[in-house]
Structure formats: structure tokens, C-alpha cells
Symmetry: C2
Subunit: 310 residues, 2 copies
């Protein structure tokens, strides 16, 4: 099953007529995840023709307005659209108080449950798991408690080589699960058939790492190592490195260094400061270090493809 990322907004701080604050829609293993939710996200979701009812898990990186001020309105719209299914909200400690205060004062009655997973620890932790995939936090270094998120498909079962298998009538259907898990097959005369002759390598599980907002920090490299797609903020160019450090942000050069060191498949930049009108300057700074760097295009899905690490 393929995966794709639709960037809904990639602006920093102040929304403009041309661009929206941070929000992304990730489709992976048949699930739809919303990552961050700046003001106006629900309208961008409509533009992306996303089905609101498919969004059951929302991951908020941090409680700055340009990453979460669209959440009350989106949840109020869920209610108006008759939602009944529970909604899972992952985000920093305080997100529950903020949302529940708003819902109490605006008398937003919800016919569905919101299940909060509030985050407060400074090391990577697994916060979501289903049959096919897992989500881990990526502790970041911003002015306020902030996490990126790593979405990773689980290793898939090996694929059966039916041509080979059919040569051995001793192998029955009930043995297939063992073969998919990599076990050899032992014939009655104790002659072992190697698993690698009976199965093919599995389709690789793909992975996506979302990192916004943060200072340059190499501590994330072990977590994002060899991901197929990395989104990393690059609010500034490197000539404003001091400002980046002061405000808790990264430069395009630094994002490229992280992508290179972590040996990722592809890098998408974002969270650009409004001071830059031509965003190609970010590519010009990053590509000499990490050539497979791209700018996001709002509402254009990016296919997440398996990347065979060097």
C-alpha cells in the first residue's frame, strides 16, 4: 500500500493571502493522519478534497498558534458534520486544557470522544501502533516543548514463491504463515528447505519524519536515520544563523546537513520566514549538500517512495 504526504500549509508565523501555516495530511497504510493544524487548515483540507471522516488521529508538534490555532474550528466542524467516532489528539501537555476550555466556553457539545495523548518527556517514545505501522516522537529543540513525529510501516511478511512451493506437496497452506515469517521448512527426511528458496524479500515498509519547529540538533539523526522522506523546517537561510538559533529555528544548510548525515531518501523543506519572496534560494543553499531536496507545493501530494540507503 503506497503512502503520500499532502502539505496543506508551510508558512511560518503569520498567515498570508498566498500561504497557510503548518499542516500536513499523511496517508500511510490505509490511514489518514493530520500533522499540525494552523489556522485555516480545515479550508485547506476541503481544497485537498480530504474526507474529514477519515481523520481519526491528529498529531500536534507544539502549542504555537501557527501549528494549532486551526484545531478548535476543525473539531467544531467535525461535530457539525455529525461525527460519532472517537478522535485521537497527540500533542504537548496543555493541549487538553486549551481545547477543553475553548469547548466549554463556546458550548461546543461533542457527540464523539476526544482521546488525548499528552506528551511531556524529552526522549523518543512510541505513541501509536496498529497492525501495519508505528508512530514515534522526535524530541526537538524549540522555544517551547516541541516534538516531531516519525511514521514508520512495520516490517512486512516475506512474499511466497508459489512456483517453488508447488514443487513440494509436503508444504501445506497452514505452513504459509511460518514461511512468511522467514522460517525454513523441514521435509520428512529431515532435509531442510531454506526459506530464501521458498519466499521473496518483503516489500519494504516506508517511513516519514516530520521535524518542525527546531534549532539544528544532531540528536535527531539516530531517530530519522534512513527515512524515505524527511520534512525539516528551514525558516531561514544560513546567513541568518544567529537569528535561527535565537528564535529556535534551522537554516536550509543545516536541514541539508541533517538529511545527508541521516542518509534519508528525500528532503522537503518548509516553514519559511515571510521575508523570503523567492523560495528557490532555499534549494540553492541546500542542494549542494543534499541534492535530493525539494520545496513543498501546497495541496500537491508527494508520493513517499522506498529509498534504498547507500
Amino acid at each position: 500500500m503506497g503512502a503520500s504526504l499532502t502539505v496543506l500549509g508551510f508558512n511560518s508565523a503569520i498567515p498570508t493571502v498566498r500561504s497557510y501555516p503548518t499542516a500536513q495530511l499523511l496517508e500511510m497504510s490505509g490511514r489518514t493522519f493530520l500533522i499540525d493544524c494552523g489556522e485555516g487548515t480545515q479550508v485547506q483540507l476541503r481544497r485537498a478534497k480530504a474526507k474529514f471522516s477519515k481523520i481519526n488521529h491528529i498529531f500536534i508538534s507544539h502549542l504555537h498558534g501557527d501549528h494549532c490555532f486551526g484545531l478548535p474550528g476543525l473539531i467544531a466542524s467535525f461535530r457539525l458534520l455529525g461525527r460519532e467516532k472517537p478522535l485521537y489528539v497527540y500533542g504537548p501537555k496543555g493541549i487538553r486544557e486549551m481545547l477543553e476550555t475553548i469547548f466549554r466556553l463556546t458550548e461546543t457539545r461533542k457527540e464523539f470522544e476526544i482521546i488525548y495523548k499528552e506528551l511531556s518527556i524529552e526522549v523518543s517514545e512510541k505513541i501509536y501502533e496498529d497492525k501495519n505501522m508505528e508512530v514515534f516522537t522526535i524530541p526537538l529543540d524549540h522555544r517551547i516543548y516541541c516534538n516531531g513525529y516519525l511514521f514508520r510501516e512495520k516490517p512486512k511478511p516475506r512474499r511466497l514463491n508459489m512456483v517453488e512451493i508447488s514443487k513440494y506437496p509436503e508444504i501445506e497452506i497452514c505452513d504459509y504463515e511460518h514461511l512468511k515469517r522467514g522460517k525454513d521448512f523441514v521435509l520428512k527426511d529431515d532435509y531442510p528447505l531454506k526459506n530464501s528458496t521458498l519466499t521473496f524479500d518483503p516489500s519494504p515498509g516506508i517511513s516519514y519524519a516530520f521535524c518542525s519547529d527546531t534549532r539544528f540538533t544532531t540528536s535527531i539523526i539516530p531517530i530519522i536515520k534512513q527515512v524515505d522522506l524527511l520534512y525539516h523546517e528551514s525558516t531561514f537561510l544560513h546567513d541568518l544563523k544567529e537569528m535561527a538559533d535565537f528564535t529556535g529555528h534551522t537554516t536550509a544548510k543545516e536541514a541539508a546537513i541533517l538529511a545527508k548525515e541521516a542518509n534519508v531518501g528525500k528532503l522537503v523543506l518548509g516553514h519559511f520566514s515571510n521575508r523570503y519572496s523567492d523560495l528557490n534560494v532555499f534549494l540553492e543553499e541546500a542542494r549542494p549538500i543534499f541534492p535530493n531536496t525539494y520545496l513543498p507545493r501546497a495541496l500537491e501530494p508527494i508520493l513517499i517512495e522506498f529509498h534504498r540507503p547507500d
Copy 2:
């Protein structure tokens, strides 16, 4: 000094790609007032080329999301733009708790003061006054505590008729203020000169009444009587009168009846339910009762003109 109303959004409940929730910008007596602030208002203000620094007074009708969820983001942007001047926020009791909870949890430090005027009483009260104008609440009947707002220029001074005045050297410049206030002038021989011969009638003060959201209620008629412009919600057509009552809204027919009974100059409808794709049906229902009824056009300023009541 003229007055104009720019409707930034007039959608009800769920924002769509084509229309924004309620927000209006009123320019009157040289001041700029923001009325309601649904999600996305700050982007609409940019589209309207409004100067953020001129907005010092924000009036929120009620704490439903489609009337206030744009406020945290707008105020956060004020801060990012370096605002220092105080901001006055008028709205239902609870608005302070909502905004201050959000600002605390999002660590939004403000270098300017927010002065809250929280409203809770059920009769019309004057909540703003300066040299030229006043603002009064209009108690409405919604599912949650809700006020409309009446903006009214104060009666202006009479205008001097300099041709007549110059015939009497006894009238000195220091007498002009008395004349502007309507006093007669008494010559030395006790011969009174009537004020009406020395001055012209003053330019009329203009008035605007904003009424959203509310059930049909004739109790507002004495407050909105003879206003030059009335904005009144009409979420539904009259065939859905029962739903209008149930949800706390008004029909186009009822809005027209109120405009007629209050003898206003012009009626602008709004807050239309998303179920109506062609909004002309609202005009077709309202105009037979009150011909001077119009639909708003987002971002197109409406000149508020003095209306000489019948």
C-alpha cells in the same frame, strides 16, 4: 466624515473554500472597528488591505467558533507585527478566560495590553464612547449569550452660515461655538437673531446596527429604529422557520419585517446556511417586504449613507 462597512465573511458555521465565517470591518468617524472574528479573518483583513495597526477595538457578538475562532491568531499576529498600543476586546463573559488560557498555554507573550470589556447583562448598554460616536449592545436571542452592536455617530454641531454672520460685526469668533450648539445671538439692542438664520442644519450622524446570531425578536426594534444600515442574519428561508427557531436563527422574511418595522435605511442579509447555493433566494423572500435589501459581497465596502426616515 463618511462611514463604510466591509463584510469579510458572512458564512454560517462551517468555513468553505468559497466563503468565510462572520467578520466585518466598520470604518466610522475615522476609527476602524472589527466586528466578530471567525477563523481566517486575519487573511481576509489582508485581502481587504486593512491596516492591522488601525484596529484598536474588537467587538465579538458571542462565543460560537464561527464568530471568534480567528481571534487568537489575529492577536498573535498583532504581537508578531510589533504592536504596542492597547487592544480593547468587547464580548461575552468568558472571552477573557478563553483568550488568556490560550495565550498562557501557547506562551504568547504580549508587549501590549488587552483591555477586556466582558458583557453579561440582558439590556442594551453603552459600552464605548468617544468625541464623535457611541456603541451600544443589542441584546439578542440565540442559543448562547449573544449581543449585536449599534454604532452611532453623535449629533454633530450646526454649520455656520458665514454670509449671514458677516453682516453683524457684533458676532465675534468666540461666539461661534454657541451658534454651533443652536443658541440665538442677542444684539446689544436686545434684538435677538434667530440661530436658524445664522447656521445651517448639521450633517447628520450616521448609524449601523449589527445583529447576528438571533431568533426573530421584535425587542430589538426600539434599539435599531431608523438606523442607516442594518445587517441582520437570515440563516434560513421562511419555509424552515421551525429549524430557525430551534437553532436560534432568523429567516429572510423575518429580517425584512424587522427592517421595515424599524424603518431602517438599508438591510444587508448574511450568515446563510450552507444548504443554499444560490443566495438570490434570500433577496426574493425579503424584498417584497423591504425592497432596500441587499446581499453582502465579501471585501466590497458598503458606503453607509444617511437615511432620511419616512
